[in-house]
Amino acid sequence: MSVAVDDELWSAVGDPTRRRMLDLLLTGGGGTATTLSEHLPVTRQAVAKHLGVLHRVGLVHVMPAGRERRYEVDEAQLARAVAQLASVGAAWDARLQRIKRIAEAIQRGQEG
């Protein structure tokens, strides 16, 4: 997958409304723009637009359901997005722990 697409993936999960939508789709086992808009403080049209963004980056897939379209989370793509984000956070967690250890050792040395 190209870097350009990955940029979009980042932006797609960066938006709080879209993260809430992913949550709803996961807990509800999927949904339509109509069912999602019932749980969100935005219009059905806005939900449809957000679904388009999620679909473009592969975070959801779509299937016809009567007059509407039903969306489900693509779990592999979501796991991939989360793993990359998590690795950045985990790396800093480890560095901060080392900063703490070093600073505390110096402090103890100064006091001792």
């Binding site: 870097v3 990955d6 940029d7 993936l9 980042w10 932006s11 999960v13 960066g14 938006d15 709080p16 993260r19 992913l22 949550d23 996961l26 807990t27 989370v73 779990e75 979501l78 796991a79 997005a81 989360v82 793993a83 990359q84 984000l85 998590a86 690795s87 950045v88 956070g89 985990a90 790396a91 800093w92 967690d93 480890a94 560095r95 901060l96 722990q97 080392r98 900063i99 703490k100 070093i102 600073a103 505390e104 110096i106 402090q107 100064q110």
Partner: protein
Amino acid sequence: MEYGSIEREIRVDASPEVVYEVISTPEHLREWWPDEAELKPVPGATGVISFGDRSTPDANVVALTVIEADPPRRFSFRWVYDEGEAATPDNSLLVTFELVPSGAGTLLRFTETGFREKGWEAAVLEEQYREHVTGWDYFLPRLVTYVARLVSP
């Protein structure tokens, strides 16, 4: 609004002066992050940190630009920008350490911002440097909650 950021807070049982030294001087940087660091902790200074043996082509040499150096309160720098470019808010990540006195110790607040502007490749690049491999076998929907925490405004 900035969504592409990482924020952490950690309490350190050492004075802000000590913590500031540890986060900003090359001799200490080497102990907690890169293998080598060449950097003067003064605003506007540029330097490099490197990972791996610099006499081999496998080494990763990464440029840094110091933005703020206000001992013992605040230290920030930009990194992950292309070689030969000047660091700007659009082409780099901003790392900020804020030190708040807390009893006999220090509350260290860390943020890294700019992922959204810089884009996804920064996360991939970062991944190469991580020493700490964690199995992120979370299952849905805990995954989403976790992302929300990592990229919360």
